[in-house]
Assembly symmetry: C4
Amino acid sequence: MLESFKEKVCRANQELAGNGLVTLTFGNVSGRDFNTDLVAIKPSGIAYDDLEPSDIVLVDLEGNTVEGELRPSSDTPTHLVLYRAFPSVGGITHTHSTHATIFAQAMRGIPCFGTTHADYFRGEIPVTRPLERDEVESDYEANTGEVIVETFADLDPSRMPGVLVAGHGPFTWGTSASESLRNSIALEEVARTAFGVLQLAKDAHPIPDYLLDKHFFRKHGPDAYYGQR
Amino acid sequence: MLESFKEKVCRANQELAGNGLVTLTFGNVSGRDFNTDLVAIKPSGIAYDDLEPSDIVLVDLEGNTVEGELRPSSDTPTHLVLYRAFPSVGGITHTHSTHATIFAQAMRGIPCFGTTHADYFRGEIPVTRPLERDEVESDYEANTGEVIVETFADLDPSRMPGVLVAGHGPFTWGTSASESLRNSIALEEVARTAFGVLQLAKDAHPIPDYLLDKHFFRKHGPDAYYGQR
Amino acid sequence: MLESFKEKVCRANQELAGNGLVTLTFGNVSGRDFNTDLVAIKPSGIAYDDLEPSDIVLVDLEGNTVEGELRPSSDTPTHLVLYRAFPSVGGITHTHSTHATIFAQAMRGIPCFGTTHADYFRGEIPVTRPLERDEVESDYEANTGEVIVETFADLDPSRMPGVLVAGHGPFTWGTSASESLRNSIALEEVARTAFGVLQLAKDAHPIPDYLLDKHFFRKHGPDAYYGQR
Amino acid sequence: MLESFKEKVCRANQELAGNGLVTLTFGNVSGRDFNTDLVAIKPSGIAYDDLEPSDIVLVDLEGNTVEGELRPSSDTPTHLVLYRAFPSVGGITHTHSTHATIFAQAMRGIPCFGTTHADYFRGEIPVTRPLERDEVESDYEANTGEVIVETFADLDPSRMPGVLVAGHGPFTWGTSASESLRNSIALEEVARTAFGVLQLAKDAHPIPDYLLDKHFFRKHGPDAYYGQR
């Protein structure tokens, strides 16, 4: 079932590797079908080159496998917490891309130093608090989702489509699997540049809000004028 | 109209991606046809792989679309200000290439630390002042062009074919679209190297003017002896 | 003899180059056949592109050539010391991959700053002490193996499948040649990220043991649940 | 004349680009034919992709063109000074490879921090003094060669097959064009690693001489045992 949807999720997983965002099998993309509320996700530990649409696993929002022979990604519970908490999200990408992971491991958010950042993320990209011992020892993957949701208590996930999990790496999302992938590509480039800015100018400060908003709303929302109609 | 000209501008846009200067759709190249004073430019938000010569939009120097079904790049007003102010410029490239953008976001010019730089840019590559709130809130893209022109009050754009827009990224130019692209490739390499020099030797100083001029004029102007006759 | 085994070792050597882990001929992979206790290794100084399975040299654990026309890698004595000391090891990879070598040359272990690291290496990746003059002047390559074994006096090589040789570079291992290669890919990515973390946050500290163990044992040992059954 | 020799020099120039050592047309390789003492060199300003063996220019050691329609590289006088001063040199490569150029622009030699370096260069890779105004204003390219020769007053070019020209970039050499190219690849990797070592450990010190000599003479000279007989 949902063959063309599974094909899109499969392709987004394969494009992870082509864009240099993952090493070995360190990453996964999922998508939500808004009609059925089923989630399609990469099977665990399979090489991207070998992946076929029929390998993609379909699960419901409680994590029951609905279709597929293979085990879903071990990160599936994290994705499901996010889909339940953020109803408008239609795709999620998790990578260990180098520079976003450097910020996650250093437990620093990524300040908005420029318009490339502002085109995709409205403000500083947040980092979660570290998980406590008990949150790691039981229901670790679900708790990874919960700490992301906690971080977004006062943030709008449609204007901040990504987060850094402390000591781990980035998750990004979007209205579809492919949009979540594009946001993970943008996040890595934004992180690479911000890393360099902090090397060059330790006291660099973020761009002013009026420039941030100009760029973000030039591309997003009712007054957007970037791209084609 | 101007089919072979549009084809050259199209190819220069595609080469942006092949040279690692852009991520996603973060960049554009335009060209000016000196006979008609028409400008050919990339349409907004189109992937480089999908671009065809017939997608290239022709606009006049006031920004009226003369030919083309698609919206021109949202950066078109910036390009047009530069074409009007710098009459000898025949091509403009805008990227968010990583190291040039790092300098732009850190709001530092790029000192001339070596002969690679001197071969292309005669002296420190300047950074604009940041735009004020009102310059961002109305006519933002045209004002981006105006602040570049202001930065060049005492600079010759034919000897300094590029600039960093503060908090944003680089623009380069040349006598044609392809020369502006070559200058953007050179700029990124120059920025990458200068970034490293500043990591290795915080107090590095620029090369002396006699070495700068030797290299610049070995390649440019009536006494050039680099390349073929 | 052992044709399919030699073919696997040959392929692992070729994949070294494809994964950007080696420059010129700076690296080699070997494998142990557990039935015969013979070791298959790359011949010395041969380009990866030119390598054929029939070029792979078979030696016994004392270093006598059993099959092959070419000289085995000059690092063969190092590999053999490790195979003798670590009976469960079935493959060894030696590279001069950039970031792992930076840590080896700076004589610093790689702290476990994140879960990417914890997925492969249970704790800080150790660096050996430097070799003394007499250890270099005679039996240098065997002594390189001995100093690794000394470093593992209190470490389990199956939970820490890699090491940095001071002033030299990394060795990784695994149950097979291809697993040792995967560990060398993981090591380079872990080193690249840790290098960045230390640039961004000089006082960064390792992740807590409960997170380290969660990730390591999610992938390794009887309770692993990562990957397919 | 010398067709197969010109073909080798042509191929070495093309491999410059494939190895990521040059951007645009920033580099050249030459070779000396020991029978005729003629030098084959890249023509100036020609793209690597377009280069054919018949484009390679033959000059004598005084710089007179013996064969070829195109202008030889503007760096030809530098190459000729080196061929005249270093009689055993059969090939020279000049690049602006990023990390070697960073050291050249920072005017720092590259200390020998590890065995990768010691395999190719016996000790710190030297940097020349900057050229004076009069040395730049007349006979600039020949004087670039002279300052290299001056730097080697107490160095053996067969044990130190490369140099950094202050404020400019690296030159490497070898017994043939292709060996000089391999040395330029090794130099860039050595520079990249040393750059990282200095970021990680400001007070890093070179490896001891006994380790340096072990590695250098394992690969070079009468007692070499690296590679095939």
